[in-house]
Symmetry: D2
Subunit: 500 residues, 4 copies
């Protein structure tokens, strides 16, 4: 069985790594192949390659860089099927879901074509004393991108497109669960004309993460993953003088007001709650039904929808969602369900022990719904990365906002209502970075900034949207005055200069 290697300097790279791990097919539980884990030497090699390639790429003109981005855009479109198959195979999500992921990743490539617009400096003419002040943005150099298993293509595309468009070299560490899409994306960049060494991928686990954080030539770190790891990366990255944007966990509350369009709300909850086996940081975790009547109506609408969901292999065209990523993940979800029941939640739909005939070793858990979830339960406190969702019953908008803000995470939050006032109050008061009004997965479009608040994001920077261009560049501000050809009088003044 062939092992997956790294992608360095435009080619597969076989280092001296002596560690590796298995990549599974979650849909049938089989091992697909081994993935080599990079040693520190391999990472340092990748960095030296990136440093050299990055210096040249930083000097490339905007026109030259844009040409590559536009070609890459076209190549992603043309390779959608191939990418989707790889994603589904390694991650377990359905092909339709994988294509949805790719379309959002493509949006990041699309927006990278706006790089010249969003990295413009400013020019002020004659601020005082004949001085003009202007600013330019230059790439930070090498960006380390540490990506999660749940979006094998979208997150790498989001992280690296703007980084490359603004003149950086990147070293991507994809999740060791899903290394395949990253290698294909690297290949597409090569075909797009990106010089070798500007885009590199190294595989591995915590060892290579540490090597990335400690390497002094890497100037910025983009991370998406769990809060536990993200906080570690933020602290260690900052301690090593890097700029760090770490996007971490979520617990996305969906508040449904009595005036909402109930059918839409129910449908949105099921779609946004269980899609991708709930393995999305922006998945709806819980519905907070305002008033008992709302709770009953929603439950009545949702249960049949949930029961009708078809769970199956990634390549089953009838499947609504597929397996979770590992056997451990399946076990974690099923234990969380059991614990919630013990804690007093009502188990309305039980997806535990679900088996797809013929794929008995696949990592499946069926769609599960719990009602009467409360704040004292671990089921509320923890992020559940698997298809178990819950209903909380609240008496009014005040209580809904209080609960939403009491959680440690502030990634997404959603309200379904027809009332302008309820929506506005929600937006103002809820401490979440991405909010939806009658939109269940409020991942903003690629030309807006994406990022959570509280413990859902560490650092005030962004790796998506227009602010990504700021994160991936550093600013120089120049004060410029040109002396006349003939000698000027040279007045001496040691007082602190004002602008007059």
């Amino acid at each position: 069985m062939e092992a997956i290697s790294h992608f360095i300097a435009g080619n597969a790279y076989q280092g001296d790594d002596d560690r590796s791990g298995a990549v599974f097919n979650p849909s049938d539980g089989s091992t697909l192949y081994q993935c080599r884990y990079a040693s520190k030497a391999t990472l340092d090699h990748a960095v030296s390659v990136a440093a050299a390639a990055g210096r040249a790429w930083a000097k490339a003109s905007q026109a030259r860089r844009l040409e590559v981005i536009f070609r890459m855009r076209q190549l992603v479109v043309e390779n959608t099927d191939k990418l989707a198959e790889l994603i589904g195979l390694e991650n377990g999500k359905t092909i339709a879901d994988a294509k949805g992921e790719i379309s959002r990743g493509l949006e990041a490539v699309d927006f990278a074509t706006s790089v010249a617009q969003v990295t413009k400096g400013e020019y002020s003419y004659n601020v005082g004393g004949g001085i003009d002040v202007f600013s330019i943005r230059q790439p930070v150099g090498i960006v380390g991108c540490i990506a999660p298993f749940n979006f094998p293509a979208m997150v790498p595309l989001m992280m690296t497109s703007m980084a490359i468009a603004s003149g950086n070299a990147v070293i991507l560490k994809p999740s060791e669960r899903v290394p395949g899409a990253a290698i294909l994306i690297g290949e597409l960049w090569r075909q797009a004309g990106l010089p070798d060494g500007v885009w590199n991928a190294v595989n591995g686990d915590k060892d290579v993460v540490d090597a990335i954080l400690e390497n002094p030539q890497i100037g910025a770190i983009s991370f998406v993953g769990s809060t536990h790891v993200g906080e570690y990366i933020y602290q260690k990255g900052c301690a090593h003088g890097k700029r760090v944007a770490a996007y971490t966990g979520g617990k996305n509350h969906m508040v449904v007001m009595p005036d909402a369009d109930m059918e839409s709300a129910a449908s949105a909850f099921v779609s946004a709650g269980y899609g991708s086996s709930s393995q999305r940081c922006m998945a709806v975790s819980l519905v907070l039904a305002v008033g008992e009547g709302t709770a009953e109506r929603l439950r009545g609408l949702m249960v049949p929808m949930i029961e009708a969901l078809h769970v199956g292999s990634y390549d089953d065209p009838k499947a609504d969602f597929g397996a979770v990523v590992t056997a451990n993940a399946k076990q974690f979800v099923e234990q969380a369900i059991a614990e919630a029941v013990t804690d007093g939640a009502e188990l309305v739909v039980d997806g535990r022990g679900f088996v797809v005939p013929g794929l008995e070793s696949g990592f499946y858990t069926g769609a599960t719904l719990l009602d009467h979830v409360t704040m004292d339960m671990n089921f509320w406190k923890s992020e559940i990365f698997g298809p178990a969702r819950g209903i909380m019953r609240v008496k009014d908008l005040d209580e809904a906002i209080t609960i939403t803000n009491a959680h440690e995470y502030g990634n997404g939050a959603v309200i379904f209502t027809r009332s302008g006032h309820a929506a506005h109050r929600f937006i103002e008061e809820v401490e979440a970075g991405m909010q939806g009004v009658n939109v269940a997965v409020p991942v903003p479009v690629g030309h807006h900034n994406f990022g959570g608040l509280r413990r859902s994001k560490f650092g005030d920077a962004h790796m998506f949207g227009p602010d990504a261009a700021r994160f991936y560049t550093k600013m120089k501000t120049v004060s410029q005055r040109w002396p006349k050809p003939d000698q000027e009088e040279a007045a001496l003044s040691l007082a602190f200069p004002g602008n007059n």
Copy 2:
């Protein structure tokens, strides 16, 4: 002798602090008064005051906040003499220099009147599926501002004006050497109509800094000071989940090309090098003369200017600069000079042992010039916060850029030339955040961003210029769709939603 206290909730606050330190008059070496050092309990009291006041201030409308900023602007203008006297008394800088400082601080207040413009969110109409996406910025809550001794009014005004204008409460810790200006500024904010508790000052040393960094209610830290302390603050602040902007040391190289206007260059060097006894992070540290001819011409012009500089008490209207801030600072500078001579530099003008008649206990050092400074000397490696400056002789622009980039600091860098090409190359290649072309102190005007690179700034954020408004606020992005009054079809789709 009365002790200076803290300014909390609009009034002087006497806590249970049991520590204090002396505030000196550097111009005569006398002790002016004691300054109380805040205990953790005092800081926590200030934070709880600020938290309550801040919640209300965050809800104040833009119109309400702007009214206060405009009034504050007027009050700073009207109180310039009073502020300048306090600055000179405690810091030692001349009144003219203090007024220069205030005029730049005023620029920050001026720019804070643009807050509504620079905190505007973005609105995208119908990005897909009838969804509008928009963003808003809200204050981070409480900002801890830790200010240095060398700009007792300017830095506090720069840090706090935009923070307050954008809806935050602030807790300022001025330098314990110069607490007076901060108290007066607090009083002016009160007169301007700022609600009590929005602006607070606590005095102290490292203990209170630690208390600020550890307090979970403080969301952002602005720091200006030494690199040693700034790095500590950045790492500790980040570890406590705060956003941190730490502006630290500088070693500002001034490159003079053979085609420069030599009289201007010489005059600029002396003004920007020795002003404020060189106690500015943006002071020119060294001139890098390109070619021996340039070195000779510059030295010939500079030496008489330096020898003519008048050093005296802050209130001596003839003084070009005054004392350094403490006896220790004086000792440090004079030792650095001695070490440089030992290391092989030529002592051209020697200001050691300088005494102002009648003020024999003042902390004076005269203007000192060393020639033939080289990269192996501590005199090049260290930031010298006192009036000893040096000449380095380089053969061409390449060498000048190499030396400038070899230093650990990247605050300011300056070139004097008439050549468009030399200036452009310098801007492109020199790794400094603020650059001057024929401008010796390239502190940009208040509507541009200020901040160094490399170890002159920790974190990618800004506390000055338009980016300050980003640093002091957090962003929410909203995806909003309004359902029609009549029931819509509720299509279920668990694939990741694209934008169509």
Copy 3:
């Protein structure tokens, strides 16, 4: 009786004008004084003064200009009472209303302090071939500002503050009905330190308007007034090669949905409809009640409010509104009421023939309400600049939008509703430049653009908000490359150059 003169070069100017007109006190019908009407020679003198002063002012630094704007801001605050008295005396509006006007004019001065931010050029580094591209904005030169009688201070402040802040000279022609405030504002600019000749006012009627439009040294025209005149000015100004922004008439429809807060809606209609005797281009003209029930509830709430309105002299502190501007205006309104009744409208409250005891010659009309107004009536088609307002009854939002869009004017439009969907649909579909959702007078705040659509504004430019800075400046875009000191190869290529 003294005649009011022009304000040129910082002083009253007595030209050779042989024409003049009376300025009335509408509150008692008396003639206050004569106002000289500028001859073409007077206007040309003003232009030559402005041209010389403008050339110097255009070269003043941003710092220098901002200082003047900040001082002006303070002077307007300090002279509010004096300005309000002049406005009330000549225009007839109440002192409270005049102060409201001044506070909005002040907002324009406030926003002019953001000029440096909003006139920044852009800088792109290495777009291709080593070329940097950047842009600067420079003043257009002389701006002709033609202001209406209904906002004697606000419109002149709005027009001239940003024009001056961005480096232009201005020639203001205030309405010949209300010349006083303009002269005082000119005096305040002088006190603020604006160099003489940068701000000038000439009085007069159509003759001086023509002289302004024909003078080749005037580069831009700002106009607020009637559509008839505005269209003339736009066409003639454009034909003379000037840029023109002409803000003209309005007929502002207020749609009230059945779910609206009826008390608020009724109160908003009365306030926004009758304030300033309805002599505002942003006054609500008509309420469109959706559904008969809404119409009845609104009428029931509104009629007692309208009947209780107190009409009186500008200096009567109990007055809700005052006289209209001239005897002609009074006659026009009362005829419009009569015609509406003839056309079939129901006269619910009749304010015709209203007399203030002791002020029998004042130009008063009482508050008038008509119901069952329809689209075939002149009362709907014409802008009524006096206190007669109407109710239209519509069956649904569709009909309300259709009527609103059928009018030739598209200045303001307002909806009162609690529904997010209704508001969003209104915003999308209604062709009005300024829209209100539960806000009756949607004049946007000074940092947003103001301007109508359709025949309510001629030209796509703005004279308020950030876009004013664009209108009052012209852009230069520079492509810059610096050759190396040594000779480069000079490749000849006559193909059209791309960016590589």
Copy 4:
């Protein structure tokens, strides 16, 4: 011989037009085919098609529109050879030159992918009284684009890409000399998925221009062409209430300072002066040599380059440039040369009577150089749209700037120098919209605004760069407040509302 028709609703359209004109092959003087000239009825048909298609397109989401733009981008790349052949055939320019033109047109398509970024509205939260203010941009509706013969593909792509990306329908009237490229571009838009009727082309001359200007459904006019026609279009379009951006003639002065890189300057002059037979509004018209020495050196370098230029058929790969567009154009240039000689200019290189063997009927004029051109000659005053260029001799930069500013046109202006001061002074003082520093054709990159000053552009709007998105859209500003669910107190106040 087939006649070229119009492109309406996605197909060739044969109207009832009874007029037509010949399209020539300038390279051999033959007639290629006839081009039908649209009647008013044909234009009105196109407008009604565009109106219907435009209404739907205006409602398409950003995502939907962007997809089309990205596909169009790819199609232009793939069809470059085909487009270039058509351009060369009808216009006479060389294939290499045509490809350069297409690459700049492609830049406009590229930048149209930034439309979502550059049309973002602004959002201000709680400006006062609980009101949020935000703005949106919507398409103007139908844009009439009137394009010149000299860039048959670039100008149509520039005009229409952003217009379509921002939601408008367009009616393009290409030059009747070169109708072919427009038809092909229309076909590519169709292939890109643009709904039929959004992009239309009608052919014709002044009659159809008048029909466009008079049609009330067309909201905006983009024009590039001669000043005579542009001024007419601006005045007539404005009189019909449309927004108009008219880019007209140029006379682009190139100042060469004594310190310039002479080889580069000479080469740039020949390339930018004679390329495309000088039929570019941004062609360098004249070199202003500062000092006799500069003039002699430049002339010495330029003459051999000019004499070596190869003139030939558009498809001759050795040709540096080709024929001018018509026999009339050839005659006009040759008369202008004769007149200049009569007026006293020295004829250094005479290109009159030039014949390409085998193509004796082609419209060729050889490269011509005149020296000692002066401001009193028509050769200076007129735009010469053919390969006759001149040298003016000036004594210093002052004189060079004076001459440049004395011309009625202010399109482009260029300086060659190594001096930062000379370049800065030139930028500040020269009244030209596009300036070059050591760049001979300062057409800015697509993400910057393009447009001349003085009589080189009518109207302050832009049709290129980010400002195009403003020109092609209209703004609505919304003031929004949401009432609480429970009744609020409804305070009545008729004073003009401030923001508190």
